[in-house]
């Protein structure tokens, strides 16, 4: 394998990983934008989507409709979490809201464990999606699920871009992220905006959850934890609450992780996560507004 092909392969890996981080980070940022709340339950909403898809495939639904079933289940879960858990504490102190978010995480995870046990379940990915493509005489490999992940990520991000720049609801969501009371003064219905934000963010979590599980080949109730933490880092790098920042942060983090694993000495590879979280601390200390909003202060 030549150097160039190796690099190209790593670029494909980085884009593939980065797009998953970006999908999760975008959802986190949307919710943080309108509520100024770090929604730890976001990872569990991913789990809801992944398990729903697995169950649907189990009863004979083809992969793509099952994927959409998972997205819808996640959107419904997000809607219910907002209504049942977050709305009653919306004006409570930050600590209360943070604890609520952690409580929702524990409840969802444990319900998941009760139903599915904590051991990993096989993700029944159809063979057609596991089929791999080889380019340059086998030097570069990618599977259909890689292509599908990238295609669906791009499609959903283009859709989101249209939503937040062309529709009144999407513009309203951005306006409310920036200044909630000014949004109220122009007559935006804040309750409605928050509900929409949760539904959109959770649908993104559902898509990310299914794709994450499909790539990993397994689902389990705690599956949302790692992507949530990574997406959190990505969102902070980009500027928490900024949707474009979450995108940039997600792809950058994917690239960084692949860079550490593929190009640095093997002795460093085990420290990948330590490096990533050091980066998080460095950003929080020296550039809390992230890359996109250098002057903004954030409160977690």
């Amino acid at each position: 394998m030549s150097g160039f092909e190796y690099i190209l392969q790593q670029v494909i890996n980085a884009v593939s990983l980065g797009s998953l981080y970006a999908l999760v980070a975008v959802g986190l940022s949307i919710v943080f934008g309108v509520l100024k709340l770090t929604n730890f339950a976001h990872g569990d909403v991913m789990m809801v989507g992944a398990f729903t898809t697995v169950l649907l495939i189990g009863v004979g639904v083809p992969f793509i409709p099952a994927l959409f079933g998972g997205i819808i289940a996640s959107a419904i879960a997000g809607f219910l979490i907002e209504r049942i858990a977050y709305r009653p504490v919306r004006n409570a102190p930050d600590v209360t809201r943070l604890l609520t978010s952690l409580a929702v995480t524990y409840i969802l995870e444990n319900v998941g464990i009760l139903i599915f046990t904590s051991s990993p379940h096989n993700f029944p990915l159809p063979d057609s999606l596991n089929e791999s493509w080889q380019l340059m005489g086998g030097a570069i490999t990618f599977t259909n699920i890689n292509i599908l992940t990238l295609a669906l990520t791009l499609l959903s991000l283009v859709g989101l871009g249209w939503f937040i720049t062309k529709t009144t609801l999407g513009l309203g969501m951005r306006a409310a992220s920036e200044d909630m009371s000014a949004a109220q003064l122009v007559g935006l219905d804040v309750n409605r905006l928050i509900v929409v934000a949760f539904i959109v963010a959770s649908a993104f979590a559902g898509l990310a959850g299914v794709l994450w599980a499909a790539q990993a080949g397994v689902v389990q109730p705690q599956m949302g934890f790692t992507p949530l933490l990574k997406a959190f880092v990505a969102a902070i790098i980009g500027g928490f609450g900024s949707i474009s920042g979450a995108l940039v942060g997600g792809f950058m983090l994917g690239a960084l992780e692949i860079l550490i694993v593929a190009f640095l000495p093997d002795a460093i590879t085990p420290y990948r996560d330590a490096i990533v979280f050091s980066l998080l601390i460095a950003f929080l200390l020296f550039r809390p507004g992230g890359l996109m909003q250098p002057n903004r202060e954030i409160k977690l």
Binding site: L171, R174, E178, A182, Q184, G187
Partner: protein, 242 residues
Amino acid sequence: MSDPSKALFSVQNLEVRFGAVRALKGISLHVNKGEVVALLGANGAGKSTTLRSISGLSRPSSGDIFFAGQSISRVSSSQIVRLGIAHSPEGRRLFGSLTVAENLRLGSCTRTDKAGIIADTERMFALFPILRERHFQLAGTLSGGEQQQLALARALMAAPKLLLLDEPSLGVAPLLIKYIFAALTELKRQGMTMLLVEQNIKLALQLADRAYVLRTGAVALSGSSEELLSDDRVAQAYLGAA
């Protein structure tokens, strides 16, 4: 002065508390249709709190607010805009990461009459030509005076029956203050009803028909603009003297 109960808008014994602090200690005022009324007073007198409670951002602990014969003190902010009260807030509070056009569009978010929205956008461009030039620029990159024009236009895009204006001259260059008050005078001529909070007493009383002077959360003085312009007690209220 006309009968307050027949006014387009009235506030009756409004009291607003922030914890143990009574920010408004039972104020009453009214605005007739087509009238411009100024709300004067020193910093902390309760002017902005009055406007914020009219818009539903602060809830009164007692008293009531009536608009077009209906109590609005428990109505949601978005519904208050729908009923016809728009608010151009202190410090402008534009959406800085959105363009001028997007800010204007959100100003009309409570409306469904597409033709009316297009016509009103054109009216805003006629009133404030700089906004047409800056159409696709981010609101956060405008100068103070341009931002104030956009804040006014955004509020007007709701096609209000009553316009609440909080410090339209704040942070605006002197030349542009003149320009903005000329625009407000034109709006008045067209029949717009306004309740104006303004630090610049002279400018406010030149524009307004009547005024109320607030001192520490209560109405200290009220009267026609001519009367108040020659009343020493107005200046005293600003000095915060008892």
